[in-house]
Structures are given as C-alpha cells and as structure tokens.
C-alpha cells in the first residue's frame, strides 16, 4: 500500500517548494522555490532530510491531512503555528506541537496546522520527503505556469501526496533552539539597475518612507503602498531580466518587489534590488506589515550574505533532543548520524 498524506483541507495557499528551478530562466521559466529558504532548510534538517528537499510552503492558514503511512516524522519551521495531532478524523481534541520541533504521527491520525503568527509562512517537512517527480530539476510549484510541485498547483482537499518512506525512521525527535528569524529593522537594498530613471527626490522618499505590504501581494510580487516614485523619462523600458528582489516601479509609481514566481524579464524600470541576505525575511513578511528600506553597497550585501550562510550552516548545531537534557546532546547527535565522520563507522553501525 502506498504511503500518502491525504489532504482533508487545503489551507489558504499550500504548495510544494524546494530551493527553486535553477538554470531555465533563459527559456522564460521562473525560478519559483521557497520564499523563505532559511525556514525551508530548518524544517528539513529537523526531520533529517537534505536541506534542499521539497517541503510544503504554508501561507497564513495551514492544511489538515490524514497520515496514510505506518508512521511519519514531521516538523514545521518558520512562523509560529499551532499543530494539532488528532487520534482520528472524528476526534475533537488532540496533542499540540509548536513550530521548530519534530514529532511523530501514526497511521490514521489527523494533523491540523493552524494559522501562522508573527510571520506569514511556515514550512512543513516530512522525513524522507515527498515522492514527486521533479520538473526541470525541481519540485517547486509555479502555479501560474502549472509547472512542477503537485500537479502544477496549490494543494486541494482530496489530494493524496505520495511519501518516499512508508514508516518513520528510528531517529529521536528534536527541537531547534535560537534560530534567529528576527526581521531587519530596515530591508537593505542595492540601488539600480535603473535608479537613474527616477528623480533624486523620489529615491530619497523611497529610502526615507514607510510602506505597507498590500493585500494584492502573492508569490510573484510583493505590492507596496507608500510614497510614490516619479519616473524621469516614462515607465516603459525595453525588457531586461528581473533578479530576485528587484523593485520595479510601474506607471502608478508604487514599488513592487519581484519574488520567487516573478517573470524572468520585464519592461518597467527597477529602482533597487533587495539584498540576498534580507530576502528570506522579506519573503515571510505578512500582508499589512509596515516595512522600510535602507541603501547598502554590494560589498556590504555580500558580507551579510556570508553571515547568513554561516547561520544556515550552523542550524544542525542548534538541534536539541526534544525529550532529553542537554547533557545527552552529543551522544544523541552521534547515534542519530548528525555528526559525520567517526560516527558513521564507530558509533552507529546499527543505523540505516
């Protein structure tokens, strides 16, 4: 019998995402991928997956699903969220889990992922990953183009998401402690590539002003409401490429930050680009939140990228066994194969 998660309620917008479809933008294919790749990695690491494995990206309100596998090991990371595991479909109350910890669910039990708090997004990873065929090298869902993920679309009630594992492994449960998902006080941007097509006064207003994330925001574009920008010589340019985090300004003068599902090319001037280190935090920012921007140099941005990648590399060090004291940490990490090298040969011969 095949192992699946059977979706009972879809949530608001639940899609399969990994780190994106890389190498096909020259064919017009958007990269897609997790809006918050830091949290995607954290969720995967919590259940022992490779960090780039596909997981469910959950926006605002999570799905409810039944486990139709012997058992599964799950974890959410990103926004705060309450996860309730019910004994069966008829049960009213269940066991509650929080974000940033792994937990085990048995066949027939129902998992209800609630509303996200603090941030918009949370990622749900399953040990072993989903058994979904990659399209152009990725399982990320590009909903507009109906490419990748689960049938090229967001999850819907009735879907049966196939799992690679029919039962959870023997590994222990973990919590993730102290992962810094703080928001930068101002999102940093590198000006350009078309900042010269805006008046200096406009750019100052853009950097000094405060913007509200508009309800029209989606995975393609974060629409902002705030001080308008004035174009110097019209708002049409001959199309050029659109990098992740590009801030384009159409005729209405309000900036639009292009996100994971952005089109590969476009014909509006781009005043600035959000730096790569701040994009995961921007990706998980909620509709209605107020944000502002600050100029950074390319060199500063690259230094901040280095720092972020070091934080990501250190995520496994922040794992704490969920049911043990910290003193047992090292032994536990060794037996669970989280420390490579000698652990493989000497301490974990019985592990798969």
């Amino acid at each position: 019998m095949s192992a699946v998660l059977r979706i009972l309620e879809s949530g608001l917008l639940t899609t399969v995402q990994d780190l994106g479809r890389i190498g096909y933008q020259h064919l017009g294919v958007p990269t897609s991928g997790a809006l918050d790749p830091v949290s995607l990695r954290a969720a995967n690491i919590l259940v022992g997956n490779a960090p780039m494995e596909g997981a469910l990206e959950i926006a605002y309100l999570g799905p409810t699903f039944m486990v139709e596998a012997d058992s599964v090991n799950l974890a959410c990371a990103g926004a705060d969220v309450s996860i309730e595991v019910l004994h069966d479909e008829a049960a009213v109350n269940g066991v509650r889990y929080a974000s940033m910890q792994s937990f085990r669910v048995q066949r027939g039990q129902v998992v209800r992922v609630g509303q996200t708090a603090g941030w918009s997004l949370v990622y749900l990873a399953v040990e072993g990953g989903f058994d979904i065929k990659p399209v152009l090298g990725s399982v990320s869902t590009y909903v507009r183009g109906q490419i990748g993920g689960w049938q090229g679309r967001a999850l819907a009630a009735g879907d049966a998401l196939p799992l690679r594992r029919s039962a959870a492994g023997k590994r222990d449960e973990f919590r993730l402690e102290g992962l810094d998902l703080a928001r930068p006080s101002r999102f940093r941007v590198v000006l350009g590539p078309q900042n010269t097509r805006f008046s200096e006064r406009s750019i100052k207003a853009f950097l000094d002003g405060e913007y509200t994330v508009s309800p029209a925001t989606d995975r393609m574009a974060m629409q902002l409401d705030g001080p308008k920008l004035e174009h110097i010589s019209g708002h049409d340019i001959v199309s050029d490429a659109i990098a992740l985090g590009s801030i384009q300004v159409p005729g209405h003068g309000q900036p639009v930050v292009l996100m994971a599902d952005r089109q590969t090319t476009g014909g509006y001037p781009k005043v600035a680009t959000v730096i790569s280190a701040d994009l995961p935090a921007l990706g998980r920012t909620r509709i209605g939140d107020k944000i502002s921007f600050q100029e950074a140099s390319v060199e500063e941005a690259q230094q901040l990228r280095r720092t972020l990648l070091q934080q990501i590399d250190a995520i496994p060090d922040r794992m704490v066994p969920a049911h043990r004291s910290r003193d047992d940490l090292t032994a536990c990490l060794l037996t669970n194969n989280l420390i490579s090298g000698i652990a493989n040969a000497q301490l974990a011969p019985s592990m798969e």
Binding site: H26, G148, P193, A243, T265
Partner: protein, 238 residues
C-alpha cells in the same frame, strides 16, 4: 569597441547592458557574449539570461567576484566577432483566419491595407528570436515589417488563449499559454511552444530563426487534434 555598462542588480546578479533599444546588432552582441561566457563554465556563475538589450549574469559572490566577472566580460567583448547564430530555423504554422484573429481587421485599417496584405507582410519574412521571457517558452521575434509596427493596445485583454499570435511595437510572438495580453492578435498557431514534459521545455531558443507558415482554418483544426509538433531544423535551408 562595444558600448556597454555593467550594472549591479543586487549582490548576486550583474547586468551587462547595451542600452534601451530593440536592435538586431545589439541582440547579436548579447547572444555572442552569452555563448562565450557560458562556454567558459565559470565556477560560481549560476545562469545567464540574454534579453533584447542586456545579458544578466546570476552568480554566487562567495565563489566568484563581480570584479573578476566584469573583467571576463570586458575581455570577451573586446575580441567579439560576429555572433554565431544557433543555426536553427523553425517553421511555425499559423492560421490567420478572422475567427482566430480578432485584431486583423483593425491592424489592416490602421495602415490602409487589406487583411490579406497584412498576412502576406507578416508571413513573408524570417524572424530573429531576441529572447525568451515573461512566460515559459515565450519567444520575442523581430523585426516586423515597418507597416505592422503599432503601439500596444491601450487596454490589455485579461486573457487570451494559448497559441495566440500577437504583434506589438517591432516585435511579434506566440503565447505559449493563456495569459493577459496587451498586443494585437492577428492569428493563432496550433503548435505548442512550451511542453514541460520535454527535457528543455521550450521549442525555441534565443538566436533561432522563425518563419510563419499560413494554414487554413480546417488545417489548423486538424493540426490541433493531431497534436502536430514543429521541430527546429539545423542547417542553412532558409
């Protein structure tokens, strides 16, 4: 010496920009630069995206520096010869029947032409693929005969069917999937320019040549039901 600017699009992309224009000579430079740069297989270059006016280079700054990349670009452009085309030509069947061409009459009336003359003008030349963008597999083709160069619609249509043939400014294209669209629609193609089940997904590549082959409404319908596939041909037959 080629005139260009290297611009930063954040900390992980460089844009080699040749200016705000639709120009076959600029496109030749962009595509030649893309070909030469890709052939170097530089560690840390993630992907390159040629557009009508520029080449975007997406890179990992912790592996390769922007300054070093700029130097490679300068080296290549200094010694750039005529761009090698991809050498591929693709014949694409198009039905210009009024039933599938809602703007054909209007386009003709703008230029005091018969619809038949518009069809003749549009289908009698070989087009250059400037770039793919906006949608998976969408190829921007040019240049249109000057008689067919018109501004875009003031009010875009909210949805046009897959296969729609549009003209806008100096360019023409076939929409690979249903989409909002501000161009004038003068026909429809029965073939699919995008199929994610293919290894590459897209029928065309930047640098390809394209000819439109007029077909009747009944041929169009037969081709739609047969699932005709147009394959680009290597060689110099055109």
């Amino acid at each position: 010496m080629t005139d260009y600017n290297v611009l930063a699009a954040g900390d992980t992309a460089l844009i080699v920009d040749f200016g705000n224009q639709v120009d076959l000579n600029v496109s030749a430079k962009v595509l030649a630069l893309a070909g030469r740069l890709n052939a170097l297989k530089i560690d840390g270059v993630i992907e390159t995206v040629p557009t009508i006016r520029s080449l975007s280079i997406y890179y990992e700054p912790l592996t390769v520096s922007a300054i070093w990349l700029e130097r490679q670009v300068a080296d290549i452009l200094e010694h750039l010869e005529e761009a090698p085309a991809t050498g591929r030509t693709c014949d694409i069947p198009v039905c210009y029947d009024p039933e599938l061409a809602p703007d054909l009459e209007w386009v003709a009336s703008q230029r005091d032409l018969d619809p038949a003359q518009v069809i003749e003008l549009h289908s009698s030349r070989t087009y250059h693929v400037y770039m793919l963008g906006f949608l998976p597999g969408l190829a921007y083709l040019g240049d249109l005969p000057s008689e067919l160069v018109l501004p875009r619609r003031t009010t875009p249509r909210s949805r046009v069917p897959a296969g729609s043939l549009g003209i806008g400014g100096k360019l023409t294209c076939i929409y690979p999937m249903a989409t909002p669209c501000g161009w004038h629609l003068i026909g429809r193609s029965p073939i699919s320019l995008w199929d994610a089940s293919l290894t590459s997904g897209a029928l065309l590549r930047a640098g390809d040549k394209v000819k439109f082959n007029p077909v009747s409404l009944s041929e169009y319908r037969r081709m739609c039901s047969d699932g005709v596939i147009a394959a680009p041909q290597a060689g110099t037959s055109h």
